[in-house]
């Protein structure tokens, strides 16, 4: 990579002493990116923008919020009614959190489909799973802050998960609460953590990006970049592609904010928290539903908690569970089918998490949970021994430039 030539003398002066412009030019402008990326590669930058949206609106909301059991609910109502544009800012914060999860889930399934977690991108993937965990913690604590019925009972149920830990469980829950139930101390610490964790996420995102830029993006056919003929400079080719995706993302977000802002929320959370009465049917936010379904599928307190956390823990070790050297599902005919089964399974778990825990729903939850773990713990390690993968093209340029050349190339490869 040649040194960029800056014309502006001020930029030159600064860059000589602090090479920030060279760095930006290198990572955002010339950054060589595989030329065959499809729109599923938009979701990383979308997640970044969603995170920034959450932080900006969140800081503004915190200027008007009171973290006290007597005032929290009223202060949120005051934001909705009295604070200038408060309704807009809060609805953006609420809906962008859902959109953040949608974007991140697509981003994760993109990684699963195209094998983006495989060597040499294992740490990149692990950092991503860490971001997901931090997001879940942050989202959960954020949901508690409005101090509605769902906030209160969600906080009670989720913190009680830790009581399943043998021997020290009860002490841990008391420690988490800072008392003998979810109360003012709990609300205060949740506010503090909800404020600070997003900045921890920003830190992990930076590591995620450093790891990404070490080897560059994976691509739809999952083979390594062979040279500059396989890449395009990030700017303007992918900046413009990302911006187009961003336009669609913001349109959908605006539609949600302005036309159905409470669609993804729960009406019970507009009733102030009452420690004496549990709502008849309590559910977490939609993005937790699949995990919630797994929790309820296991007929044992500790077992349910372990399986729920296990469903994320398996993602951490996924790079070593998958034994196949081929990254992209495009060349793995059996894996590809199972990939869609997994997608369906996750949607099914999400649906079951929203249903009452009785009758057929419990049985279906168990089947879906069993499949989830089968997919990760048995299918991933064993499938490569049975599956016959399709021949890989020799380079990214080959299948793009001519189909015949690809066939010829793979034929030669097979002869060898």
């Amino acid at each position: 990579m040649s040194k960029p030539k800056f014309k502006n003398p001020v930029v030159k002066w600064i860059d000589y002493r602090l090479p920030i412009f060279t760095f930006m030019d290198h990572e955002l402008n010339h950054y060589p990116t595989p030329k065959n990326l499809n729109y599923f590669w938009n979701f990383g930058s979308l997640a970044g923008i969603a995170l920034i949206t959450m932080i900006v609106t969140g800081i503004v909301l915190s200027m008007n919020y009171t973290a006290h059991v007597d005032h929290a609910f009223d202060s949120v109502e005051r934001i909705m009614r009295d604070v200038n544009h408060g309704w807009l800012i809060r609805y953006i914060h609420m809906n962008a959190s859902s959109f953040f999860f949608i974007v991140v889930f697509v981003h994760i399934f993109r990684g699963l489909y195209y094998g983006s977690y495989k060597a040499p991108r294992e740490l990149l993937w692990i950092l991503g799973v860490l971001i997901l965990l931090l997001m879940m913690a942050t989202a959960f604590m954020g949901y508690v802050l409005p101090w509605g019925q769902m906030s209160f009972w969600g906080a009670t149920v989720i913190t009680n998960l830790f009581s399943a830990i043998p021997v020290v469980g009860e002490s841990i829950v008391t420690w988490l609460w800072g008392g003998f139930s979810v109360d003012n101390s709990t609300l205060n610490r949740f506010f503090s953590l909800h404020f600070v964790l997003p900045f921890v996420i920003v830190g992990v995102v930076i590591l995620h990006l450093v790891a990404l830029h070490r080897f560059g993006s994976n691509n739809p056919i999952g083979i390594d970049v062979k040279g500059s003929q396989d890449t395009l400079p990030f700017n303007p080719y992918y900046t413009i592609k990302d911006l187009f995706g961003l336009g669609i993302f913001l349109t959908l977000l605006a539609a949600a904010v302005f036309f159905f802002p409470n669609f993804m929320g729960h009406p019970d959370n507009y009733i102030e928290a009452n420690p004496m009465v549990t709502p008849a049917h309590i559910v977490p936010d939609w993005y937790f539903l699949p995990f919630y379904a797994i929790l309820r599928a296991i007929p044992d307190k500790l077992g349910g908690v372990l399986f729920m956390f296990g469903s994320i823990a398996v993602l951490f070790v996924l790079p070593w569970l998958d034994r196949s050297p081929v990254r992209s599902s495009q060349f793995r005919p059996i894996f590809k089918i199972f990939f869609w089964v997994l997608v369906f399974d996750c949607f099914l778990l999400g649906y079951l998490g929203a249903m009452p825990a009785e009758g057929i729903y419990v049985i279906l939850s168990r089947v879906a949970t069993a499949y989830y773990f089968f997919h990760f713990l048995i299918l991933f390690p064993l499938l490569p021994y049975i599956e016959k993968t399709k021949p890989l093209p020799i380079s990214i340029s080959q299948p793009v430039l001519s189909g015949a050349a690809t066939a010829a190339a793979s034929a030669t490869r097979e002869k060898k």
């Binding site: 900006v56 609106t57 503004v60 200027m63 008007n64 005051r78 009614r81 009295d82 604070v83 200038n84 544009h85 408060g86 807009l88 800012i89």
Partner: protein, 181 residues
């Protein structure tokens, strides 16, 4: 962008430049529209503005007494001045003052002087409302922070403060009931 060989003519270049400039302009307007609510939320909210006026009942106030009332988070001083004090306030020569103003321009009913009790120097609350308080050399109010002396019309006479104590906008609803704000 002008060196792009795919562009056929000057006219195409012009079209492209127009598209780029108009895209940036629209994006700028969009960004500004998003940023404005984030800034404006720090302005007083509707409930704060609703508290912008306060009514004060003066019927229990006797000659020579003062009361302090909270208005918009700040103290408002009301003093029922004695005849002597009123006379003093009217006789003093304007040449002695830093911020010359007639007493009659500062009151609606000359018995009651109504002031925002915030020193115009750096915002402390001057003494002089309570019976035991130091009232300064001019028998009005004295700011303990940096030593500003105000007379019984709230006019700055000595010390660092640049202007007289502010007179809020108020109205007599009856003989002894006023509304501030």
């Amino acid at each position: 962008m002008s060196k792009n060989s795919n562009l056929k003519s000057k006219e195409d270049e012009g079209k492209r430049d127009f598209l780029i400039v108009s895209t940036y302009a629209l994006a700028g307007v969009g960004a500004a529209a998003f940023v404005w609510p984030l800034i404006d939320q720090m302005n007083p909210a509707a409930d704060t503005l609703a508290l912008a006026s306060t009514e004060i009942d003066l019927s229990s106030l006797e000659e020579g007494q003062s009361i302090t009332v909270k208005w918009r988070g700040k103290p408002v001083f009301v003093r029922y001045r004695t005849k002597e004090e009123i006379k003093q306030a009217n006789e003093v020569s304007l040449d002695e003052m830093r911020d010359p103003q007639l007493d009659t321009d500062r009151v609606t009913n000359e018995k009651y002087i109504v002031l925002v009790g915030v020193c115009t120097h750096l915002g402390c609350v001057p003494l002089g409302q309570k019976t035991g308080d130091v009232k300064g050399q001019y028998g009005g109010w004295f700011c303990p922070c940096h030593g500003s002396h105000y007379d019984n019309s709230g006019r700055i006479r000595k010390g660092p403060a640049p202007t007289n104590l502010a007179v809020p906008s108020y109205k007599f609803l009856s003989e002894t009931l006023i509304r501030i704000g």
